[in-house]
């Protein structure tokens, strides 16, 4: 019994981290159509901001979550203003540009704070393990699960119930028509990019106490995030939620019964096979055409 619960929790935990990382990527692609290859580096920068706030100002991780979101949103906003805004509707150019931004971000971190691995302390109150239905799990992993769901809920509420969200959905369906109805699409794009970058930063900060903080850490996350987005469907928030859940449980299960190397390969094969039969992903946004 406890091993089943423990497996389920492991899957959920992997899923929550996947979703945290993928959410920002999905939002940015869904709205602006930009494939942001610097997303992993936004995650990495978030972790470094957490580290800097902790070592320079003695701020605990929980207290620094809001500042990290704001700082990374600002970074995203600047990147959009300086680079991305000039490249909309030029898919290949944005891929190249964001890849370049990623490389520069890695090297900048290495030049400013050095290449060594960094250490972010786990919040004291969450460093214990807890018992659920006979299975023990890390309190911090449960906390990540909770935060990931809360952030997803928040994003969904913004998307569904606010004026901003309404404009977002309009632009997602057809930018030209939305624009002709007086929606300032440039401004909406900018805010979306900033929000997505802020989410990536939060993801980085939240995983930093479980993993290691290094200039290269974003590279692996961006691959996982793309798998989630591709599987879920690119314009659907629910798709992101569902596909991170599926991928998390699937990799947790496969890794338990074989090992992580095989799990990674099988998950990738499964996605490729699925895309063959359902190229649009599992979920698609309904649109009147």
């Amino acid at each position: 019994m406890d091993i089943i619960v423990s497996q389920l929790m492991t899957g959920l935990s992997i899923a929550s981290i996947l979703m945290l990382v993928a959410l920002g990527l999905a939002i940015i692609y869904g709205v602006t159509g930009v494939i942001n290859l610097a997303h992993g580096e936004f995650v990495m920068l978030g972790a470094y901001v957490a580290w800097a706030l902790q070592t320079e100002f003695g701020m605990g991780l929980l207290a620094s979550l809001v500042p990290i979101f704001l700082i990374m949103a600002l970074v995203g906003w600047l990147v959009e203003v300086l680079v991305i805004s000039r490249l909309y509707d030029r898919l290949l150019d944005t891929i190249l540009a964001t890849w370049g931004i990623g490389v520069m971000a890695q090297q900048a971190v290495r030049l400013v704070v050095g290449g060594e691995l960094r250490y972010v302390q786990m919040p004291e109150s969450l460093s214990k393990s807890v018992t659920i239905l006979g299975a023990t799990d890390s309190a911090y992993r449960l906390f990540i699960l909770f935060v990931a769901l809360a952030l997803f809920g928040l994003t969904w509420v913004i998307y569904r119930y606010t004026n901003f969200g309404l404009k977002l959905r309009a632009i997602t369906q057809n930018r030209a028509i939305a624009s002709s109805f007086g929606i300032n699409t440039a401004r909406i794009y900018r805010l979306t990019f900033a929000y997505g970058a802020g989410m990536a930063g939060l993801a980085g900060a939240l995983v930093s106490p479980l993993k290691s903080v290094s200039p290269e850490m974003g590279t692996t996350y961006v691959v996982d995030a793309f798998m989630v987005v591709v599987l879920g469907g690119t314009q659907s928030l629910m798709g992101t939620l569902a596909s991170s859940g599926i991928l998390g449980e699937l990799s947790g299960y496969l890794a338990f019964y074989s090992n992580d190397t095989i799990a990674k390969a099988l998950v990738l094969v499964a996605i490729v096979a699925l895309i063959r039969f359902r190229p649009q992903g599992l979920f698609t946004a309904r649109a009147r055409t």
Binding site: T10, K211, S214
Partner: protein, 415 residues
Amino acid sequence: MNKDRRSFLKATAALGTVSLVGFPHIWNKNASLARAADGQIKVGVLFSLTGTTAIIEESLNKATIMAIEEINAAGGINGMQIVPVVEDPASDPATFAEKARKLVLSDKCVSVFGSYTSASRKAVLPVFEKQNNLYWYPTLYEGRECSKNVIYTGAVPNQQQDDFVPWLVKNFGKRWYLIGSNYIYPKEENNYCKKLLAELGAEVVAEEYVPLGHSEFSSVINKLKAEKPNVIFSTVVGDSVVALHRQYHAAGLDPATMPMASLTTSENEVAAMGGEAAAGHFTSAPYFMVWDSPENHKFVDAYKKRWGADKVTHFVSEPSYFQVHLFKQAVEKLANSDITPNAIREAVKGQEMVAPQGKVRIEPENLHTWLWPKIGQCQADGQFKILKQTTDWLEPVPYKAYPNQKCTAEGLKQI
């Protein structure tokens, strides 16, 4: 016509003789490498300063540079200054080979100090063998290599495990869980470990490999909870070490009953995972930063003074440091006119010095190093407590897992 041809032949023969005698570099590749006249000895320093392994190779670069500066400040070698040519191979094996070629052929270095991963060593090996130059390799590695062009100053499997494995079996028990990163080093170390465990009548409950750079260990933790091994033998490397320890700690597992025993967790990784995640686990290595000896105090103080008070020394940066001093001792024995890679190799055979870890010696037969394996237990302050050291320095046996093979000066021998 005949006469013409004869004189032509004569002239050609004469020219040939003159060129052989007068321009020795035509027939002796290494002659042009002699560094005497200009009062400089050029050496290559080849550690990645960018890319994935820069995290650790930067510290090796720092230890090497520091040793060179020390030697130069003390008057150099027989009055000649060591000039380091530093290249950054960017953690990429192909770039390693290219930079090695540059250092040997165009910079005419008499030796190159470098690299961390086995992949990069394998990449540069053909360059040093073809050009008959010398490569100084400081990392612990899987053994099973025999080259007269590489001096190995890190530990091989027998030097890390011969003491460690029996000690762990005695103190913790016979059910072992082997986990490593998925490449050659962990697999070779585990082969050796399994051999020792079989001799001790211990059991391997699982042997598992995770992808390089892997950072999600929750499934592994679940398996540990289910299997409850006595010892987790870890040859996980790099960032993954940090993730594994932190997730083990967060899951509430206890090192007192299920410790991790590692060959790859140094002060460097511990600094990045935080002392509380590392405390209680074991590492076997010939060097720990806390080792109490005058040579080590001097090394640690100098390192902190040169590179910053927050820096740590560890079991790969220490050989990076002492191998430059061994190089100096070997070159000192040579006349300035015949400083060549060949002559240096011959001079380095059997060379001894008191390194920070203790007195070390280059084994003439296989160019590996006699070392002082120690067992350390990590403490909450991020430093190790040394529990045990071998009673005598330990011979390097790079082919110990392969009973019929032996590395000699003439190459690999079947016995």
